[in-house]
Subunit: 187 residues, 2 copies
């Protein structure tokens, strides 16, 4: 094999797609799509999400010190892409979903999503172009339809993910759309 | 939809699988499999990896202040799983691969992998059960066979990923093995 240098700014080949929920200063739910995130701690369960400093939602999260993570199923691929393209400064993304709240303030969740997690912010790590927010999971919700033998079933959930550098959405059963394109216009 | 509380310790549905490279104190290459990681900063390009405090590799990374990220293709699924099951304290994982070095000391890379990235540690964030290491990408390497029109081609690379909570490895073309099982024994 002959190794060659390529563009160093490499993105993970596969990224799990989530919709992060927060609340604006006028108490309106707002959502943005995020693919740079990961579990970061086992006990207690914590999750890290990366947010560009220019994002509208960053100040909302910093003010509330809470946020939610929502896992969309493949039927939400278009609206998920939309939430990644357009800013909450300009469009009302709260009106796209049926919202429910758990025990935390400022962490609205999306009923149409497979899994919903409410988190309390534990650390804010100010990197150069992006801010890394670490939240601790307070509660996780799902729907009975996805539970088999008291466990969440991956096949029933049929979550989707983003592949890079081609920027396509797939489930494990196939391609379902082009990222930053399929959600440019909602029907 | 009727939302119910489920076990709060939820793992991302889909996780990109990487092999992290480091060097032990006797200058031997060591590798471990990691699925809790993400890009965390756009400019300069940075990546975060989570490591359990009990891992052998953590002290190696802290001492060298460098590491590598290696993306295995599907033909390496068995050895990738092996590198996640067994500790470098007990087995010599450096001997499993053809190693090459870039410009950094302490960041050995795997020739058999699709993409190799060398990183300098910028931040060490000590969480409760795990340590979050943030590294800046210094160089990224690949092989001409994966490049189409000067760009890395996802289809040619045919990388694999882990699905949770069922713990299976897949490419976008199908299931390729059971995690923490397929690599228990190498041939």
């Amino acid at each position: 094999m002959k190794k060659i240098k390529i563009k160093k700014d490499f993105w993970p080949f596969v990224e799990s797609v989530i919709i992060v929920g927060t609340e604006s200063d006028n108490k309106k739910p707002n959502f943005f799509t995020c693919s740079w995130h990961s579990r970061v701690n086992q006990k207690p369960p914590q999750w890290g999400i990366t947010i560009d400093y220019r994002r509208y939602s960053l100040n909302c999260i910093k003010r509330n010190m809470t946020f939610s993570i929502n896992y969309p199923g493949k039927e939400l691929v278009k609206v998920t892409d939309y939430c990644g393209i357009y800013s909450g400064k300009k469009v009302d993304k709260g009106s796209l979903f049926t919202i429910f709240n758990g025990t935390l303030n400022g962490a609205p969740m999306i009923e149409e999503c497979i899994v919903n997690i409410e988190l309390e912010v534990k650390r804010i790590i100010e990197l150069e172009s992006d801010c890394l927010i670490i939240g601790e999971i307070i509660n996780t919700y799902s729907d009975e339809r996805y539970i088999v033998d008291n466990r969440l079933d991956f096949e029933k959930a049929d979550s989707f993910f983003l592949t890079c550098p081609d920027f396509n959405y797939h489930t494990i059963h196939g391609h379902i759309g082009k990222a930053w394109k399929i959600g440019k216009k909602l029907d």
